[in-house]
Symmetry: C2
Subunit: 414 residues, 2 copies
């Protein structure tokens, strides 16, 4: 008898028919003789609807009260899913974050899980029940409800899998798995059977919306396998796991693009030691996450410092950026929203020389200008003009022959 | 500094504008220098909406999961009301039934409050906060959420007033107070400044929807004054309290009618000792509340036994009633839904002879046939044809001169 944690996102429980569908899937797993713990998000647009109500009152809600409001969304889902399971003749029980005792820190709206109390869950499982748990929520030291912020329900699922020592953690949504790139851009994109935590982490950070980076980090830290698949069909999905035998991996696993970037150029700051340090520490102080950075020496010992930030972060921090620029003596800040970041990701890159060069060459041949570059052990990203993004993805997908690589066999693309 | 418990019903928090209005009223009380604990129901039709979702899944939901679902309604209200109070610059905090620790028994959907833990509420009040508490809900010994059933939020408010030793318990809804009768039937109906617990209890049981009988019983048991008024204006309402000086009270305080009755006649049962006892114990076993009873001896030692039950109860228990009748040897059950119960209520009746007789005479003179009668110390009820109900109410209101009695002065109607 295995213990399985399944997580169903908001689209998967978007209406009553879909909840019934999820009930059927959960029961199917239970009938295999397994213990099943199910984590669900709020139904479809419930959270948006609650936020709309909130905005009719205030633009700046108390974070504690916002969590009080938003945690009702998952509570509705767990109750309805339990009823749907029970209606098909199986035993089920719903538990909120506070009932499970998913202990978090005190940061309302973006709390982190500190500990999970398994006792109630185990008691209910022992009684043969399917246990349905509200994702995205926990309880702090004051018994107040907290929410985990973005990717919260994925994190709940992985944290529960860790805490319960589950045999599998399955994340169901409306996508079939992880692809070599976005199939809407490249129709011949191929679904991956396996992907490593690090690659998944890069892809998640690069805008693949399937799994939130924090849940991947947690899974990596505790070595929990995640199975990603669709709740709308039974096609095989993708397993995210530790892949130690690097040499058996492809050098490039996937291509992504992210159009949610803004390039900010702080012009003509004095070319003195410590200026860049000052700029980026101040941005960090204001919780502004900087992604790519480039510095160009101009005439008269003046520098242009460019960096990219996420569009949403930019809107929030625009004022601060201008203030800092002024403080550093910059006469002008240039904002370019017409940019996109294309990236290649692959655990095999470290051991394969020339991968980055092949990327730059391919883009160059296609006449696509590279404005900025960042690299990591398993990723190379280039900032290009936004309108070139889809073409760049198609070129790179072809360059690295991602459509027809047999996974686990080395050297196909060399 | 007084401690005030205020309760606002679903209509009073029906939309965001009304929630803001309630916030203003709460703050007004707070600014008088008082500590304020607010109990709120779910917004307008929220509960109905949740029940509709539930019915799409099952007609027979697990009571625990139904409570899990329904308790979200008040949780939304308390969060939004707190935000509205905070938005006006005052400190507020919301607490669910489980956070307060409103301990109930295990009867999901109709739980009774066993105890309330004051500690969290007092801690928040001491910090100068307005404390907003979810009505209608509690928590049982297993930490599961329970709901209190009908009149639940009123009961929460009174129970909190008792537990906290509040100076006042104010129940706000969309009615201005308690009237001598329904103003929609008798335009000259007069609002009462005071009413006794017992009179209120009779009126509540007779279908006055303002306050649920169980909250009145609780208030009476602990001698908590209840102030009933509208949340939509500042007109003076009605105080429900202990009124010891009976001789100063009017003999009749109010007239009510209740069209939610069904008359059931179990025909031709043998006139043997114990038959009626058997019938009514069996009905009681099935939780069928019988109101009025009459027994007529027919020919051949056969009896017709008539009783009235609430319409809703009747629908639920129809099958059981027919089964019991058959068991008792009755060849026929007659159902009459075309009935209504008109009642006069008044604490002074006990000490004033002839009140019932005046009622019967007045109805008789008007040609209204009385089918059944029940009386208590402070109430006389007559079952009549439904279409005569409004006319009967007008006649009785006039007979007992309820429109122009000065309260607290005896003998005006003698």
């Amino acid at each position: 008898m295995a213990l399985i944690v399944q997580k169903y996102g908001g689209t998967s429980v978007g209406d009553i028919e879909r909840i019934k569908n999820v009930a059927g899937r959960v029961i199917k797993e239970y009938k295999r003789g397994n213990q099943v713990v199910v984590v669900v998000s709020a139904m479809g647009d419930t959270t948006d609807r609650l936020i709309d109500l909130m905005k009719e009152i205030t633009d700046d809600p108390d974070p504690r009260e916002a969590d009080m409001l938003l945690t009702t969304g998952e509570q509705v889902s767990i109750a309805l899913l339990c009823m749907a399971i029970q209606d098909k003749g199986y035993k089920a029980i719903s538990l909120t974050g506070s009932q499970v005792k998913i202990k978090t820190d005190d940061c309302h709206n973006r709390a982190e899980i500190m500990a999970i109390d398994n006792s109630r869950i185990l008691k209910e499982l022992e009684q043969g029940k399917i246990v349905v748990i509200a994702g995205f929520q926990g309880i702090n030291s004051r018994d107040d409800f907290t929410t985990l912020g973005r990717g919260g329900s994925d994190t709940t699922a992985v944290a529960l899998a860790v805490s319960l020592g589950a045999d599998r953690c399955e994340i169901y949504s409306d996508v079939d798995g992880i692809y070599t790139t976005d199939p809407r851009i490249v129709p011949e994109a191929r679904k991956l059977d396996y992907i490593s935590y690090d690659e998944m982490l890069e892809l998640a950070c690069l805008g693949a919306k399937v799994l939130h980076p924090r849940s991947v980090e947690l899974a990596k830290a505790y070595n929990v396998k995640i199975y990603i698949a669709s709740s709308f069909n039974y096609k095989p999905g993708t397993i995210v796991e530790r892949i130690d035998e690097m040499e058996k991996r492809n050098n490039v696993t996937g291509v992504t693009s992210d159009k949610d970037e803004v390039k900010v150029t702080v012009e003509k700051v004095p070319d003195k030691p410590g200026i860049a340090g000052k700029l980026f520490s101040k941005l960090a102080e204001h919780n502004i996450n900087v992604d790519m950075i480039i510095q160009n020496l101009q005439y008269n010992n003046l520098n242009d410092i460019s960096f990219t930030v996420n569009k949403e972060d930019f809107i929030k921090s625009k004022k601060v950026i201008y203030e800092i620029a002024e403080e550093l003596g910059s006469p002008q800040v240039d904002i370019d929203t017409n940019v996109a970041k294309v990236s290649i990701v692959g655990a095999g890159m470290i051991t394969t020389p020339g991968v980055a060069a092949r990327m730059f060459t391919a883009l160059g041949k296609a006449g696509i200008n590279i404005q900025m570059i960042t690299t990591s052990d398993i990723k190379v990203s280039c900032l290009i003009a936004e309108e070139e993004a889809d073409r760049a993805v198609r070129i790179l997908h072809r360059t690295f022959e991602l459509a027809d690589i047999d996974e686990g066999v080395e050297g196909q693309v060399q």
